[in-house]
């Protein structure tokens, strides 16, 4: 079942995300929905290029799954993709959809991020398979990503259940060989009324739960013999139970080991696992993050070595796996060069968010942050954010602090345009309804930037290129009852400051829309770089506090011991924010030299 018998294209190098998209396409998926989230974003971007697939950005993962459920109930195959925290947002429909079951197969792809390369936590979403009582597949490379998605749709329809396909960053963003096949078109059967199955009032839901439990029992039996799981090696000696990318690390550093490679990682077959365990002398479980497999194997009464040696935090790699299994640091890492300056990611030269953060620093507010490029505003020298918890959190956080402190200190929340649509609107309504007077700053740069510049309802353009009406933030804010709404260009520091002061001053909710396109989207070729007039520069360092990568200092020249400022003309985008903070008027247009 795992390998398609019709695979016939020449091998190509695909990422795991592209493999998933390929598998969904070949499975006949008709509707695919997602909200961008690293490391899952390319799944929908790839699906959007295939004919016959309606692929859309939804406003958030909950809506994405709900749309896909609608398609499934019409008898069409549907797929939803998200990063790990996205499943938290979609968890409400996810859990109950396990009770109703599907009509057309439905696959939920969760792309976890061990090591938090671009996330605010490293939660282990395998727990959702257990909580939701759904089967889960974990591919170990791009070929399996394609193969397992095909298998997942079969399983979904055969066992009447959504199926979770779980990958991690090193699967999503690693490339390996894939042989692909042909798409099998499927005509949706249409909706057939079945109120006891689809309407989850308690009377109906009580009848569905035992069906769900029975499904999991039958799936555990299936797990015993499916070729989604396989045993490698001849037994005796070292035995390792593993899945996902960890399997590749085990193969790399323990070539002599017998391996129980699990592709169906929930539910497990007790018989399969105990038989494997009885064939080896020493049993290990190698998995990233939580002891998800380990605890189930221990519950079967088996002895093993797991998290006492394999790290619970961060991602694994061959070195860590070798250390865990051999019990010793087998390869000493060569010393790198020491004392090298760090290089964290930064906001781009000309980033409009910089203007807002500079002004907020001047106003000394508590700043509730949110998720996007602007979260980088927490880093020095701007250090302008005080919190960042999850999508949309800042808006509600602001109200909470207000209520706790009796409106003592000005609180503002900054939130991106895409983030606001995702989950900030409800918080704004809460502020109006519960008599807050926080100031919400919507950073409207006309894109979903950090994940790679995707469109959203604020741009009106869809994933598949349709131009439609754009959501209007000003009107939305007024419609939910905010009377004080203003729009500023963050490149205009004085204007931005005036608008923020007024917004903070009024004793009612205020929305300030900071509107300027992301510099990476609007690639202007006419912006003139600036330069520093060294005779006027007093080396005061004020411009440097903006943290723009185009600004640096030069070693002192001549008699002066001061490090004056210098602007890199290749990096500078001519936004003039530094020119506005300079008290010596030493920053000018570079043209004419």
């Amino acid at each position: 079942m795992a390998k398609s018998a019709s695979a016939r294209t020449a091998p190509r190098l695909l990422s795991g995300n592209e493999g998933i998209a390929r598998g969904a396409f070949e499975a006949g998926v008709r509707v695919a929905c997602a909200y961008p989230g690293t490391p899952s974003t390319e799944i929908l971007e790839t699906l959007a290029t295939f004919p016959g697939v309606h692929a859309q950005w939804s406003v958030n993962e909950k809506v994405a799954l709900e749309v896909a459920i609608g398609a499934s109930l019409a008898g069409a195959r549907a797929l939803v993709a998200m990063k790990h925290v996205g499943l938290n947002v979609a968890s409400d429909p996810f859990i109950t959809f396990s009770y109703t079951g599907v009509k057309g197969g439905l696959v939920v792809v969760t792309a976890d991020d061990p090591g938090m390369h671009s996330s605010q936590n490293e939660q282990d979403n395998r727990h959702y398979a257990r909580l939701g009582k759904v089967p889960m597949l974990e591919p170990s490379d791009s070929q399996e990503a394609r193969d397992f998605v095909l298998a997942a749709f079969e399983l979904s329809e055969q066992y009447d259940t959504p199926v979770l396909v779980r990958i991690t960053t090193r699967i999503a963003h690693s490339r390996s060989r894939v042989e692909a096949g042909e798409r099998r078109e499927r005509e949706p059967a249409g909706f057939e009324s079945n109120r006891e199955k689809y309407v989850m009032i308690p009377a109906h839901a009580r009848k569905r739960h035992p069906i769900v439990e029975d499904r999991m029992t039958r799936l555990a039996e299936f797990a015993e013999s499916t070729d989604l799981n396989r045993v490698e090696g001849n037994g005796g000696g070292l035995g390792v139970i593993t899945s996902g990318v960890s399997y590749q690390y085990v193969k790399e550093v323990c070539p002599e080991a017998s391996i129980l490679k699990l592709g169906l990682t929930y539910p497990l077959s007790a018989r399969l696992v105990t038989e494997f365990a009885s064939d080896v002398d020493q049993l290990f479980v190698v998995e990233e993050l939580d002891p998800f497999l380990e605890e189930q194997v221990r519950a079967m009464g088996l002895r093993l070595i797991g998290k006492e040696r394999v790290p619970r935090t961060g991602e694994l790699n061959p070195h860590l796996v070798r250390s865990a299994v051999r019990g010793v640091a087998a390869v000493e890492a060569r010393p790198g060069l020491s004392d090298l300056p760090p290089r964290p990611p930064v906001m781009c030269p000309g980033c409009p968010h910089r203007g807002v953060f500079h002004v907020l620093n001047q106003l000394k507010c508590v700043v509730f942050g949110d998720i996007g490029c602007y979260t980088l505003g927490v880093l020095p020298p701007l250090a302008a954010l005080d919190t960042c918890i999850c999508m949309g959190a800042g808006v509600g956080n602001a109200l909470g602090m207000e209520k706790a402190l009796d409106g003592d200190r000005p609180v503002v929340a900054v939130i991106g345009d895409s983030t606001f649509i995702h989950s900030g609107i409800t918080g704004l309504i809460d502020i109006v309804y519960n008599d807050g007077h926080s100031t919400i700053i919507i950073l409207d740069n006309a894109t979903t930037a950090m994940t790679g510049h995707q469109d959203h309802p604020g741009t009106g353009r869809t994933l598949q290129g349709r131009e439609g009406p754009a959501l209007r933030f000003e009107e939305l804010a007024r419609a939910v009852g905010v009377r004080h709404v203003s729009v500023v260009d963050p490149y205009d520091l004085a204007g931005t400051r005036r608008a923020l002061e007024q917004a903070i001053d009024v004793d009612e909710p205020a929305v300030v829309i900071s509107r300027h396109p992301c510099v990476l989207v609007e690639r202007r070729t006419d912006s003139q770089p600036l330069c520093v007039d060294e005779e006027r520069c007093e080396a005061c360092g004020l411009c440097l506090r903006l943290g723009c990568p185009a600004l640096a200092t030069v070693p002192p020249r001549g008699a002066s011991r001061k490090r004056k400022a210098r602007i890199d003309p290749v990096l500078c985008r001519g936004c003039r924010m530094c020119a506005q903070v300079c008290k010596q008027e030493a920053i000018v247009r570079a043209g004419g030299e």
Binding site: S174, R175, S176, Q248, E252, N317, P318, L340, R343, P345
Partner: protein, 204 residues
């Protein structure tokens, strides 16, 4: 395991490392190898440290290069070369572009950009090739082709034929970018490698 060749490409987000890695891995695939690569997205354009691993051989398992097993470190920027030199095998090769991009801490005066990195790298790595990629990219016609220049220099260490490289570049690059990138690749491949520790680092 020893039949696998491990290449790590490092640099600063925005230098075109992902494109270089993609072209390299395609060329290796079309030369008949099993290939795996891995990379980190999201932060790629925001000026942070980035690296990608490209591994090839008869059968590759881990997409990540095991610690200390990098055969060829390809660095598009000097500081990043220094940062990753510990991942190289002792008898490995460092191919380093002379380009320096000071990180924000240095620009703000809170840290120093070391001026002896090439020497320090040479002290711990058997073979160091330094290439003035920016200069060659300018000669090719566009300073943004520095990544292709470095790819050309790397190609001298690999068995993939010029025909395969040409096919890969043609397939991946649109008409507008093809000519200048072919020139950049050729200039890098023709070899302007120098081991010149007196030369001033070139700023971007």
């Amino acid at each position: 395991m020893s039949s696998i060749t491990n290449i790590r490409i490092v640099g600063v987000g925005g230098q075109g490392i992902l494109l270089a890695s993609s072209l390299l891995s395609e060329a290796l695939l079309h030369s008949g190898h099993d290939v795996k690569t891995t990379e980190i997205h999201g932060m790629a354009q925001r000026g942070g440290s980035v690296f990608t691993d490209v591994r090839f051989g008869q059968r590759v398992y881990s997409p990540l290069i095991p610690e200390g097993s990098v055969d060829i470190l390809v660095a598009l920027e000097v500081l990043e070369a220094g940062r990753h030199v510990g991942s190289l095998r002792e008898d490995g090769t460092a191919l380093v572009s002379k380009q320096t991009i000071p990180p924000l801490a240095v620009a703000l005066g809170a840290a120093e950009y070391p001026d002896d990195l090439i020497d320090r790298i040479g002290a711990v790595v058997r073979t160091v090739e330094v290439i003035d990629a920016l200069d060659l990219a300018r000669k090719a016609g566009n300073v943004r082709t520095a990544n292709t220049v470095v790819l050309g220099a790397l190609s001298r260490h690999l068995e993939a034929s010029p025909e395969v490289w040409g096919e890969v570049l043609r397939a991946r690059l649109g008409a507008r970018l093809l000519e200048v990138n072919l020139r950049a690749f050729e200039l890098g491949r023709a070899g302007n490698a120098e081991r010149d520790s007196q030369a001033e680092p070139v700023t971007s």
